[in-house]
């Protein structure tokens, strides 16, 4: 059981870099981190799953919850993931249609900034 969380700020975004395994034992830590950011009025969040070795439905549930919390405040919630094994879990659950998934933290921030400018 291993979960690593690193939080940083980049250009107005909170970046949560997650490593290790996200399951029923470790997901509560990620949930608490996302709640803490929202409570701190950090509504633009990038969650990088690049160093995640495993995620199951409990982890997906925490990300769904994070997305909902951020949207409630008009914020943006973006995932970064390029690992096929992790992407497969999102794909077969249909969640690729729910989350905005980018290939790098930099891409996430740039694309979302552009999207925010174009938004009415």
């Amino acid at each position: 059981m291993d979960l690593r969380l690193e939080v940083s700020e980049r250009g107005g975004w909170s970046v949560v870099e997650v490593g290790g395994e996200i399951d029923v034992a470790t997901a509560p830590r990620l949930r608490e981190q996302l709640i803490a950011l929202v409570n701190d009025q950090r509504y633009h969040i990038v969650v990088s799953l690049e160093a995640v070795d495993f995620i199951d439905s409990t982890g997906l549930g925490v990300l769904i919850s994070g997305l909902k919390r951020v949207r409630t405040h008009g914020g943006r919630f973006v995932l970064v993931c390029t690992e096929p094994r992790i992407l497969k879990v999102f794909e077969i659950t249909g969640l690729l249609a729910v989350f905005n998934v980018c290939s790098s933290i930099e891409e996430a921030i740039v694309l979302e900034a552009e999207a925010a400018e174009e938004a009415p």
Binding site: S57, R85, G94, A97
Partner: protein
């Protein structure tokens, strides 16, 4: 901990404490078993680890619910039992809990996964995931609990249609 090994036709059965920390142990064990069978490639091994993680999570949460979610760990709590049978080029895994039983037909229905309302539900993905990853899935009522029996063949069961609705297969979750 020494990971078990098994040859074709072997049966591996072990009891695990009904605590969240052991789900990763269950994944480790099934990964080691699958590694012993060259028919199962790395992608299929990942499928098994995910399905077993979901089944063990449900079993542990059923047991935790039975004794009260916020209660302290109960050393007398019934363990969950994981039984793996490798035979005829396939793997059958049965996870048994004593959490009071589970009716897979009585699960809460959720909105379509792409519906904004779906964000109101964190759960509901575990059993659909198992259904997609396993070649067969069966729920058996046991004395005071449930046994989930999953059968896996080496090749993934052709990507069945994306869930679209997580309830499209008629199941929700035992993780509510």
């Amino acid at each position: 901990m020494t990971a078990p090994t098994a040859a074709a036709g072997d049966v591996v059965e072990l009891e695990l404490p009904a605590r969240p920390e052991v789900v990763s142990v269950a994944r480790l064990i099934i990964g080691a078993l699958v590694a012993a069978d060259p028919l199962f490639d790395e992608e299929r091994s990942a499928d098994l680890r995910l399905a077993i993680s979901e089944a063990c999570t449900n079993a542990i949460q059923a047991e935790m619910k039975r004794r009260g979610h916020d209660g302290p760990p109960d050393p007398e709590a019934a363990p969950i039992v994981m039984r793996c049978v490798l035979a005829d080029g396939q793997i059958e895994v049965a996870i048994t809990d004593h959490g009071g039983g589970f009716d897979p037909t009585g699960l809460e229905q959720h909105p379509e996964v792409t519906s904004p309302d779906r964000l109101n539900y964190e759960g509901g993905l575990g059993i659909p995931l198992i259904k997609m990853l396993a070649d067969d899935l069966e729920f058996r009522s046991t004395d005071g609990g449930t046994t989930v029996v999953m059968r896996f063949e080496p090749r993934a069961p052709g990507l069945r249609p994306v869930i679209g609705s997580v309830n499209g297969s008629g199941a929700g979750t035992a993780q509510e």
